[in-house]
């Protein structure tokens, strides 16, 4: 059974042989892992079950002085945050799209590496990533506070902007669906530590109908829908399931009850994440990390779960804590890394257990 098969089982709510996993790390955290693993491909060392394809946050032109410009024209200051950065300019100064042209959703850079990556990691579950997939794209163009006030001041503009972003996304997704992918992984943060930024009423009025249209495009092609949406958003799960969501990330234990949600939604919604990145990983001991990891793996053994820290691991997490959860996931009974088996067979070595 390949990693891809295991994820399929989990998404269908069936009991897997072991709990699959897929981890991500910020650049600072990757530096620590690289120092530990030496000169190896981290993607191979981690044995992730999801294969990210496309480019979740897009492509950037280097402007120098730690500044980059994305394909939408947004300039990001990466002086402090090396992974994403902070928006420096305001593309849509007025509540209007006039004079603004969206970039080409079919830019070859989003797709050109898909065949070779599938060739190299064919045993993994293939997810085409589409970050900043609605609300986030809108506020990076318009400014967060402006967009939130536009919900009241300029509702027609908000609808128009969201529809334009969705059209861009759908065009890109349709192109991605021409490849042998399994799912589309959208990314759009709506939550705060407590509740939604815009509240459920505005979310349902402005965001939900557009999500339904985007998710429908993926489902019509027989593929799965994943969403990454930070914060306290579990009040939306029933709505999201109704429009075809299959898997939710990051599943933050500080803002939602991961154990009861896993039990309640098993068979309807799969969760990816769950290990505390706000408390246990940066501040806990190795034993704390092991305890929480074992609990999550036990909960996930019945299905409906892909194990991972709740967010990309930050650079303040001690290496020992990173290795603790990586090792426990990889040493689960029932798991054999097929890529290592193939390599061992090719080299006539003992098969790893």
């Amino acid at each position: 059974m390949t990693k891809r098969d295991v994820i399929h089982l989990v998404l269908e709510g069936e009991r897997p042989l072991y709990v699959p996993w897929s981890f991500s790390f910020t650049e600072d955290a990757k530096d620590k892992l690289r120092a530990h693993y030496g000169d190896v491909d981290l993607e191979k060392a981690l044995q992730n079950h999801l294969l990210p394809l496309g480019s979740d946050i897009g492509f950037f032109e280097d402007l120098g002085d730690h500044r980059v410009r994305d394909v939408f024209g947004v300039v990001w200051d990466r002086t402090v945050n090396r992974d994403i950065g902070f928006v420096e300019n305001q593309i849509l100064r007025e509540p209007s799209l006039s004079g603004y042209s969206f970039p080409d959703p079919l830019d070859r850079r989003f797709f050109e590496s898909i065949p070779s990556r599938i060739e190299e990691h064919g045993d993994r579950f293939r997810v085409f990533q589409l970050g900043f997939s609605l609300f986030e794209r809108a506020w990076t163009l318009r400014g967060m506070e402006n967009l939130l006030m536009d919900f009241y001041d300029n509702p027609r503009f908000v609808h128009e902007l969201f529809e334009a972003i969705a059209a861009y996304n759908v065009a890109q997704v349709r192109e991605a669906l021409k490849y042998e992918i399994d799912a589309v992984y959208f990314g759009d943060d709506w939550g705060q530590q407590h509740g939604l930024l815009m509240g459920p009423r505005l979310w349902r009025k402005f965001i939900y109908p557009v999500l339904g249209m985007m998710y429908g495009t993926v489902h019509e092609a027989g593929k799965y829908v994943f969403i990454h949406s930070c914060g306290d958003v579990d009040e939306l799960f029933d709505d999201l399931i109704a429009i075809g969501l299959n898997c939710f990330n990051p599943f933050q234990p500080e803002v939602m009850d991961v154990a009861s949600l896993l039990e309640r939604y098993r068979g309807q919604l799969t969760f990816h994440g769950g290990l505390s990145t706000q408390k246990t990983l940066p501040y806990g001991s190795v034993d704390d990390v092991r305890r929480e990891t074992r609990d999550l793996l036990a909960l996930g053994s019945k299905g409906g779960y892909i194990f991972s820290p709740a967010h990309a691991v930050e650079g303040d997490v001690p290496l020992e804590n990173m290795l603790a959860f990586i090792t426990l996931a990889q040493s689960q009974p029932g798991y054999v890394d097929q890529a290592s088996v193939s390599a061992a067979v090719a080299n006539d070595e003992e098969i790893p257990r």
Partner: protein
Amino acid sequence: MSERVPAIAAAVVEGDTSTVKVLVQEALDGQDDPAGVLNEGLIAGMREVGRLFEEGEYFVPEMLVAARAMKEGLTILRPALVSADVKPVGKVLIGTVKGDLHDIGKNLVGMMLEGSGLEVEDLGTDVSPERFVEAVRSGGAGLLGLSALLTTTMPYIRTTIEALDEAGLRDGIKVIVGGAPVTEAFAREISADGYAPDASRAAALARSLIAP
């Protein structure tokens, strides 16, 4: 107090900037007491906004449009407040700590603090402990609000409080803390004077500490 004053509060709650501006001007023209317009109109409106936020009726957009209406009203009212020698109940410094550029939560706290009658000086984001110390030393503020969104930057809240201690300024100022990874337990551990989970409660906490 004329009936315009409760109508000002209601218009703030609705985020109706143009009505707030008209009513504040009418109140001043009608010889309403500027302090009453401030306390029973603008501040009372923002207090209700805070209550609705805490109860999950209001969210960030409603808070933003209400704060904008309050600010516009305050701009019209301010000269009259100065003439009547009505002073803010206290001054507050706020900022996001070193290494952290997140500002939405901190801005909301600033709006709610202003809406509760406090004078607010926003030091911005990525503020070093040295800059916080300098701002506290320059005087006038009774309370400092420190914000962090990331686990990687939260330690600078502690560093900033330690820097105030070392500068001999800690006893002269109350310090409150907040932000996604910040907890009540962390606030106690670093000897902050208070923690609030959201902007509305931060404003109530600040008032209770410096203008009880």
